[in-house]
């Protein structure tokens, strides 16, 4: 059976490429800015992220993660369970739950045996996230083509933590006269039945206005087998806010030759080429 190629369409005609920011998107951006500025687990508050492996020490200056004013603690994992030992005894550290130690917040995440610790301090002052001017021509809708090879792949999520994602398919998007096929992975989220369809992409704006290592954009079901891909909603990975996070490696095939001047910008200055990871298969 021949492969059906369905090109995604822009949600509005190209003659009206720059339009007013839709109120819903304005609210989403305001919520995100507020979360960045105030949440105790904002990436702006992250000071360290490290796999727990055989155990890590926190506290004094010779610890794996020195934390001022915190006596020596040791974090270990066994059979999927993560425990924290300190001067006041032992306590369990459930995944995704915030645990206070002195002036710091600890969050453990990641699968059994590969748990990762992120340590948060006080949020650093930071200008609001900046965005390119809204471009209606970079919002598309269309179907999701099934994956050529269904399967699973380990990738880093937005927060630098490895997840087992499923190949969800691909979308074919017209950008500046080119037809670009972008690979879509389904990334599980914490708890319940939820997951997100994500595209991690690179484009010609990387290091020239947008984050050098690429950006995430979530595709959203519209019903009837159609999805929305709105590059105006592209987000920087958390490594753009703090060097505590590793940057996700670009996904195979998701490099757009043309610029995509939409979504979140990067104003953090120069990022060394060595900080941009190589593509994953």
């Amino acid at each position: 059976m021949g492969r059906v190629v369905v090109l995604w369409i822009a949600l509005l005609s190209a003659s009206r490429v720059v339009a007013q920011l839709p109120p819903q998107l304005a609210r989403e951006r305001a919520d995100y800015a507020a979360w960045l500025a105030t949440s105790p687990v904002s990436p702006l508050a992250a000071i360290a992220q490290q796999p727990i492996g055989d155990g890590i020490e926190l506290g004094p200056s010779d610890a794996d993660i020195p934390l001022g004013g915190v006596p020596r603690h040791r974090l270990t994992q066994r059979g999927g369970a993560v425990t924290l030992d300190g001067p006041t005894g032992r306590r369990a550290v459930p995944r995704g739950v915030r645990v206070r130690v002195g002036a710091y917040t600890l969050v453990v995440d990641g699968p059994a045996g590969r748990a990762v610790l992120t340590v948060f301090g006080s949020p650093r002052p930071h200008a609001h996230p900046e965005f390119y001017r809204y471009q209606q021509s970079l919002a598309f809708s269309g179907p999701l083509a099934p994956p050529q090879r269904p399967g699973r792949v380990r990738v880093l999520g937005l927060d630098g933590i490895e997840v087992e994602a499923a190949e969800a398919g691909s979308v074919l998007v017209p950008i500046q006269g080119d037809r670009v096929r972008l690979r879509v992975l389904r990334l599980p989220t914490t708890g319940g039945e939820e997951s997100e369809l994500e595209i991690f992409f690179r484009d010609a704006t990387n290091a020239h206005g947008s984050y050098p290592a690429g950006r995430f954009v979530t595709i959203v079901p519209l019903g009837g087998g159609n999805y929305r891909l709105d590059f105006n909603r592209a987000r920087n990975p958390f490594c753009a806010y703090s060097t505590a996070y590793p940057c996700p490696a670009p996904w195979r095939g998701n490099t757009i030759a043309a610029p995509v001047p939409a979504g979140e910008r990067y104003t953090g200055g120069t990022v060394p080429a060595s900080a941009v990871p190589a593509e994953v298969p």
């Binding site: 499923a166 997951s195 997100e196």
Partner: protein, 403 residues
């Protein structure tokens, strides 16, 4: 006169009273999730409930802020904030995650959802298959007409998703469950003899499914097939009770008794269904030699916080048997504290111990009252198992052994 005008002006400026019944929806990416918001007046304060048909969940506070009403759902660190626009409300439901805010648009208008009844072709038990990018998996739908219209639940290998309520239009239906934390919407339509539809979870997740009317043959894995156990030695546990005293399986109160070990969490909605059923079983069989012990796996891992939560749970259900603080609600972590269970996946899990302390049966999950006949059958099954164990007869279901 001047005061009267000022008062009238203030009344015009003040937001309208939120008291009343509201037809509410969450606008998910792939559809609208309907529920009812009921706001009432208590002693000096407002009260509110989120309702899915006849089942309601109380909110922790209601207050006005400027031209908006703010509804707090403290248990889940979530809230609904919505501005008045005449007789309608619009705003958002939000809770705070570790990867950013989770925000879902919310709308409401005064009134109640019409009661719609499903045709006979829709009600009943359906064997469904969910198709996700992570693979396919079985579910069972129980659909029925209740006093508030179409209702039902979804059942997976490890339990049910709670009470769903919804609307019907011809052969199409939408059933919702929103308790302030879980955001579930099941939409579908009948095509010939087949139901097809989409299960929506949260703002974005959509899982297509297909269902055929149940033939009565087993579609789900049996709850006793999911978790195995070492049956070669007495089942061991040692955890502190709510006063800090460590209780083990060697405690004299368990000696020579039939014991049900209830692995639960106060955060787990299904455990709120199983707790009253276990209390009834305890009251019915305790005099004949049944003991029950609850092992609580809680959210924070902070003993003081978790103990407070478990005490509240104990008092809510009048639980007469001991509840122990066993650990945190991570399936892997919980499994690690009970190494004699193999493949532990579900809260609650009920472990049946014979008079010799060895595992006779492990039941993962629990069919709550929302499952109707399934719930009744499960209680009968539990009672039969307890009767067998009390009489010392070998269990028909057999012990599970994967040492």
């Amino acid at each position: 006169m001047r005061l009267g005008l000022a008062a009238a002006a203030l009344m015009l400026l003040a937001p309208p009273s939120p008291v009343g019944s509201w037809r509410a929806v969450l606008d998910l990416a792939g559809g609208t999730l309907p529920f009812t918001l009921e706001i009432g007046r208590g002693a000096g304060h407002w009260t509110a409930r989120l309702c899915n048909g006849r089942e309601c969940h109380p909110l922790s506070s209601v207050r006005l802020r400027g031209d908006s009403v703010v509804l707090e759902i403290a248990d889940y660190a979530a809230s609904i904030t919505a501005a008045f626009h005449g007789d309608s409300l619009s705003g958002s439901y939000r809770n705070v995650g570790n990867r950013g805010p989770r925000v879902i648009p919310f709308r409401a208008s005064r009134g109640r959802w019409p009661v719609t009844r499903a045709p006979a072709t829709l009600v009943g038990r359906w064997d469904a298959t969910f198709f996700s990018d992570f693979g396919s998996s079985p579910r069972v739908f129980e659909l029925r007409n209740g006093t508030r219209g179409l209702e039902g639940t979804l059942i997976s290998n490890t339990g049910d998703y709670g009470h769903f309520a919804g609307t019907v239009r011809g052969d199409s239906f939408a059933l919702a469950h929103f308790d302030g934390s879980f955001v579930y919407l099941l939409t579908g339509a009948l095509h010939g003899d087949t139901l097809r539809g989409v299960f929506h979870a949260g703002l974005h997740s959509e899982t297509p499914w297909i269902a055929l009317r149940s033939t009565g043959a087993a579609h789900l894995r049996g709850p006793t097939e999911i978790t195995g156990a070492d049956t070669t030695a007495p089942f061991r546990f040692a955890f502190p009770d709510l006063d800090g005293h460590v209780v083990t399986e060697r405690d004299p109160r368990f000696a020579g008794k039939v014991v049900l070990v209830d692995v639960f969490g106060t955060w787990c909605p299904t455990c709120h269904d199983s707790a009253p059923a276990l209390v009834r079983l305890y009251r019915k069989y305790h005099a004949r030699g049944l003991e029950i012990v609850g092992l609580a796996y809680e959210v924070t891992g902070d003993t003081a916080v978790d103990a407070r939560q478990v005490r509240r749970f104990r008092d809510k259900f009048g639980i007469p048997f001991p509840l122990l603080l066993a650990g945190v609600n991570d399936v892997d972590a919980a499994g690690a504290t009970l190494p004699q269970l193999h493949g532990f996946t579900a809260f609650p899990t009920t472990v049946f111990l014979g008079r010799d302390g060895r595992v006779r049966r492990v039941h993962a999950g629990f069919y709550g009252p929302a499952t109707g006949a399934q719930h009744a059958a499960l209680i009968r099954e539990f009672e039969a198992e307890i009767e067998r164990l009390l009489s010392g007869k070998p269990g028909e279901s057999g012990a599970l052994s994967r040492p």
